[in-house]
């Protein structure tokens, strides 16, 4: 473990040295590094999750398959991959509001939501949402009525969780594409209504 006194003031130099050394030793290829990042910058993100949600709202059979075996149902839409090999989708209902966290690190369903926002990885969120989810959700603008159960999912193992939000009212005539644009990343984490 590098000791604190070795800690560089310039982490960017540290990472550059690491990449250079690993490249020289054949463990890393800088071009591949760039393409890997580009993938998350350009192709993988919460639009995947939003598409899944919209499809579930408009296709009862898909919704059923999604809740039974999320990874399989997602594969129908060509969505799969690292940090989402074993997906679980949990459905908000009139009785239950779900919210996802990883208290031990910051596990997150990358193939459907992309990389996590900073707040999801922050100590306050990880520490607080398991103990006082109502206060946290209210603070984040997503108050939940007292008669609704809040169910917090702490992703402590290989399962990765996505919330299927409730379909908002007044959206009967919308297409799946229009519906998808209503779905937010925060809604699929469970800290927003949709």
């Amino acid at each position: 473990m590098p000791q604190p006194h070795h800690r560089p003031s310039d982490i960017s130099l540290r990472v550059a040295a690491l990449e250079q050394l690993l490249t020289e030793r054949g463990y890393v290829d800088p071009d591949t590094v760039d393409r890997l990042v580009e993938l998350y910058e350009t192709r993988i993100g919460p639009h995947h999750g939003a598409g899944i949600v919209a499809r579930a709202w408009t296709d009862a059979g898909f919704r059923q398959r999604l809740l039974e075996n999320a990874s399989q149902a997602m594969a129908e839409l060509g969505i799969s991959g690292s940090q989402g090999e074993n997906m679980v989708v949990v459905e908000n209902t009139a009785a239950v509001h779900n919210v996802v966290v990883c208290t031990l690190c910051s596990c997150y369903p990358w193939p459907v939501l992309g990389l996590p926002p900073r707040w999801y990885k922050s100590e306050p969120y990880r520490a607080r949402v398991v103990r006082e989810p109502r206060a946290v959700l209210a603070e984040m603008g997503c108050g939940v009525a007292d008669d609704i159960e809040i169910r917090v999912w702490d992703s402590s193992a290989d399962l990765r969780y996505m919330v299927l939000p409730r379909r908002p009212g007044g959206t009967a005539g919308l297409t799946a594409g229009e519906l998808a644009s209503r779905v937010t990343r925060d809604g699929m984490i469970g800290v927003a209504a949709v």
């Binding site: 393409r35 090999e85 208290t103 103990r131 809040i150």
Partner: protein, 223 residues
């Protein structure tokens, strides 16, 4: 280990700060660190269990000072040093020699589609269901063992000694406690256990709220 990383329920952190219109990476070194780590994980055999194990060993003050990707970097370095691939001194010397950050020239030139296909494949910790027997079934009441091992483990401290109900058996997965220490995959059933908020936090918690935590077979005992 019961380290600073095991944050569930810890008080005193204050408000959750959200960024408006947050970039995917806040600094260019984060972008680079993300890519390097992703690629290195495959090439040096740095599993998520190893990543987490070495993050947890970052001393508490340093852990809280470090950003998310900085913890990744520290963990990868610790792993590389442990395996004799690179030492802290190698990195320090190279930093000095470089002076300012620069990037090496690209090599093989994998296409974005190639990379996408590899990432879409993923790398699951799931193993053949026949490799382990399930000691518990859905609806069984279980207690999380009150163990406090010094090594990497994935039962959050707030669940230790508490009683919940098996909500689902997800099948058989590599066991982090052994895998992180290179003691073998020792796959086990992994369950979602549902706890009432009151069981975990006491009578002041709302009666209807609950928490679901994914726990390996050997973390549990019949309740």
């Amino acid at each position: 280990m019961d380290g600073i990383h095991d944050l569930g329920g810890m008080m005193g952190f204050g408000r959750i700060e959200r960024d408006d219109d947050e970039p995917l990476f806040h600094e260019s070194w984060e972008r680079q660190a993300f890519g390097v780590l992703l690629q290195a994980s495959g090439s040096v055999g740095f599993s998520d269990d190893h990543l987490r194990c070495h993050i947890e060993r970052i001393p508490p003050l340093h852990y809280l000072q470090a950003s998310y990707y900085e913890r990744w970097v520290l963990s990868l370095e610790a792993f590389l040093e442990e395996r004799g691939i690179l030492s802290s001194e190698d990195i320090a010397r190279r930093m000095e020699a470089m002076g300012t950050p620069s990037r090496p020239a690209g090599g093989r030139g994998a296409t974005l589609d190639d990379i996408e296909a590899a990432v879409a494949e993923g790398s699951s910790g799931r193993r053949d269901a026949g490799l382990a027997e399930a000691r518990f079934r859905t609806r069984d009441r279980v207690r999380v063992r009150n163990d406090h091992p010094g090594h990497h483990t994935r039962a959050p401290r707030y669940t230790r000694g508490r009683v919940g109900e098996i909500l689902a058996d997800h099948g058989v997965f590599v066991f982090p406690d052994t895998n992180s220490r290179d003691l073998g995959e020792c796959p086990e059933h992994c369950y979602t256990v549902r706890f009432s908020a009151r069981e975990l936090w006491g009578e002041a918690a709302p009666a209807r709220d609950s928490l679901c935590v994914d726990l390996w077979d050997s973390y549990l005992e019949p309740a």
